[in-house]
């Protein structure tokens, strides 16, 4: 208890130190931006934020640094019970935070409910006008109004150990590698070669499931006007995945499985398709991953996950909450976040500003924003709906089993329709 008290006390002291700094900063710039200062002075009060994501603490600290009169209390609920907890307080209307985080996987249910503020009415269209298209679209409700905003994008790429790439692909140049794998046919051919040359010990990619991750948001939405629509691309992809599986192009290591994480570090997989935020999977003890990795573009741009923030409809601190949303949607925070954590920005302008300059120790001299920027800006902006994620996960499951069992695509589609119909009886699946 005593230890906690002393930590708390120290934290208060440090925070007040920061507060002191920004106060004096503001007072020096007050002459230049009088009106800004006027609004800044109004920023006071106490905000409560619920999240499942630890880094929100830093976000709150930076916000408090900028607005010393504001206090932000962050409550972190790790694990997948977060959304149930959140829904419970929303239903009861008691103890609801002013701002709550929503994960991409279930954002649709919350932003299409009566519990969140319409941010478009508060001026959020301005905040997201320079955003990566897919990032801003995911925060929109069925009518197209902004209800949640993220401070980052989550683009993915092929990560590789440079030494390994040189050995098996003949180069470690990201542009050359991107060109070598810019279609699935090329991936299959290259994969066969890698497999042969390494006597089956090394594989080009981790899992045929990488194709789902890449295609997930490059295909037509699963449900349109109450009807299940299977994009013909999924049939093509099924064939590609069968080829990958049958020819051992993949190491058969499922995404985020134990062996998958090992393969990133030991090089038994040459190209690992993973999002920019997953750098914690790299073993970087004593800086041993320094200048070890490169990142190349995948055949199509893809993203994975994303944390969005909404304001509670009945919050008494809506203005302060909006100020917070405005802060995280701004350049200042996103630049800081990029530098501090390597999380990719949501603003295209922050991408552009850092395109030629941003370096990450793990990637040596590579301008890693480049491959991400090239692919992320073209990912279609689609509004989330109730079905998308759930139906996709059913397709992953059924098609994944079909590939392992060497099942015919028509059987797979029948099984898939049965699963969808069972979970969503209201849908027309024929």
């Amino acid at each position: 208890m005593k230890k906690w008290l002393s930590i708390l006390f120290a934290a208060v002291l440090i925070l007040s130190l920061f507060a002191g700094c920004s106060n004096s900063e503001k007072s020096t710039s007050s002459k230049d931006k009088k009106s800004d200062n006027k609004t800044a002075q109004k920023v006071e009060g106490k905000l409560t934020i619920w999240t499942f994501f630890g880094q929100v603490k830093d976000m709150a600290a930076e916000f408090e640094k900028k607005y010393p009169d504001a206090k932000v209390e962050v409550k972190i609920f790790p694990g997948d019970q977060y959304q149930t907890k959140l829904l419970n307080v929303l239903q009861s209307g008691k103890g609801v935070p002013d701002i709550f985080d929503l994960e991409r996987g279930y954002i649709d249910k919350f932003i299409n409910s009566k519990y969140v503020v319409n941010l478009s009415d508060m001026g959020a269209e301005d905040l997201v006008k320079d955003y990566v298209p897919y990032v801003q679209a995911l925060g929109r409700d069925a009518k197209g109004d902004v209800r949640a905003i993220s401070d980052h994008s989550s683009p993915g790429g092929f990560w590789y150990i440079k030494e390994n790439a040189k050995k098996y692909l003949g180069t470690d140049n990201p542009d050359e590698i991107s060109a070598m794998v810019d279609s699935y046919d090329k991936i299959i051919e290259l994969g066969k070669k890698v497999n042969k040359e390494s006597n089956g010990k090394v594989h080009l990619i981790s899992h045929f499931g990488d194709i789902y991750n890449i295609e997930a948001y490059n295909t037509k939405p699963w449900v349109k006007d109450g009807k299940l629509t299977i994009d013909p691309a999924w049939k093509e992809n099924y064939k590609v995945q069968q080829e990958i599986f049958n020819n051992d192009v993949d190491a058969k290591l499922e995404f985020f499985s134990a062996g998958w994480g090992n393969a990133i570090n030991d090089g038994s997989v040459v190209l690992t398709a993973m999002p920019a935020w997953a750098s914690f999977m790299v073993d970087n003890k004593d800086d041993k991953a320094k200048d070890k990795f490169g990142v190349a573009a995948t055949p199509k741009g893809f993203y994975m996950g994303g944390t969005y923030r909404s304001i509670y409809e009945k919050s008494e601190n809506k203005d302060l909450a909006y100020k917070f949303i405005e802060f995280i949607a701004g350049k200042e925070w996103q630049q800081h976040n990029l530098e501090a954590t390597g999380n990719m920005p949501g603003l295209l302008t922050v991408y552009k500003d850092n395109l030629e300059t941003f370096k990450s120790p793990m990637f040596g001299d590579q301008n890693i924003l480049k491959p991400y920027y090239e692919t992320v800006k073209d990912i279609p902006g689609l509004k989330p709906d109730k079905y998308g994620e759930e139906v996709l996960s059913k397709w992953r499951k059924v098609a994944g089993q079909g590939i392992k069992d060497k099942d015919d695509i028509n059987n797979v589609i029948e099984k898939f329709k049965k699963e969808v119909k069972n979970t969503f009886p209201e849908l027309n699946v024929d």
């Binding site: 249910k109 409910s113 058969k252 290591l253 062996g259 499951k397 392992k404 069972n422 979970t423």
Partner: protein, 294 residues
């Protein structure tokens, strides 16, 4: 005299009130609320709409639910049979006078019961991971198999692993119950049998087992309710190929708390309640028959 006893009974009433209040709030209210929900359509976000018996008619045609009942029963049978046999054999061995370190072994065999099922599920899923798991490495190391077995890609192997987890968790507990049962058998019977020249095998079959029958039945019945509520360990191991390890309660959890179909989830909960009720009635009937026999 009579007057004072009436007064005293009032205090007894006060003593039981806290329990009933707690039960009313945390037990009965959710039970009734679930029943109410099962006649609604509600996703937790919009207001509930009355739909009558729609959730129940949907349930009757739900092949996935039917499959989950089948899975639960299969996994239960696969786990209970070896579990009881193992527990009984160990109990009989550990009840022998000449065995040294009985208490140590009793404690060790009971340990898995202390570990939470979630931990066991994670442990087994790592052990049986087909590429990095220790089981495949061990089997390959001693030359039993050439290529790693993809355990969770076969419906029956997946079910066997789930059953294995349950068996491993509960055999120690049942063993203790059996030991207690064994110790309550009068020594005179054994001594009389020995005097009459009965072999150890005869004693086990003709004295121990028949006298242990009530205890056996007790463990069997108590395992029915637990077995039908199978949830946490299989959840950690996944649905299995073709949903082969999807149990009833897992299906309820996925429907209510993953898909947020609370109302249908409530209907599933009531269906599970009815199924467990039926099995419990059957087992009560059994135990009554047993008493009549005795």
């Amino acid at each position: 005299m009579r007057k004072s006893s009436i007064n005293k009974s009032q205090f007894g009433f006060y003593f039981v009130v806290p329990y009933f209040i707690t039960f009313l709030i945390f037990g009965l209210t959710p039970i009734i609320y679930s029943l109410y929900l099962s006649f609604m359509k509600w996703d937790g976000f919009s207001d509930p709409v009355f739909v009558g018996l729609a959730n129940y008619t949907r349930l009757l045609q739900d092949t996935f639910f039917l499959k989950s009942i089948g899975n639960t029963l299969i996994i239960w049978v696969l786990s209970i049979v070896p579990q009881l046999i193992l527990a009984l054999i160990l109990a009989m061995i550990l009840n022998e006078k000449f065995i040294r370190g009985k208490h140590f072994f009793r404690a060790v065999f009971y340990f898995p019961n202390i570990v939470t099922p979630v931990t066991l599920g994670v442990l087994f899923s790592l052990m049986f991971d087909w590429q990095t798991g220790s089981v495949n490495k061990l089997l390959m190391g001693i030359g039993l198999i050439d290529d790693p077995v993809n355990w969770f890609n076969s419906p029956w192997l997946a079910r066997l692993i789930v059953a294995g987890v349950i068996m491993w968790q509960y055999f120690g507990f049942n063993m203790l119950v059996f030991i207690a049962g064994l110790q309550s058998i009068p020594h005179e019977l054994y001594e009389a049998a020995e005097v009459d020249g009965a072999s150890r095998w005869d004693i086990a079959i003709k004295i121990t087992l028949p006298l242990l029958k009530p205890v056996l039945l007790f463990t069997f019945i108590t395992s029915i309710i637990g077995g039908l509520q199978l949830f946490d360990a299989p959840l950690m191991l996944g649905n299995g190929p073709d949903n082969s390890t999807l149990t009833m309660v897992m299906y309820l959890y996925q429907t209510a708390f993953k898909n947020f179909d609370y109302s249908y989830g409530a209907a599933i909960a009531y269906a599970i309640f009815v199924i467990i009720l039926i099995f419990s009635l059957i087992s009560i009937k059994f135990s009554k028959m047993n008493k009549v026999e005795q």
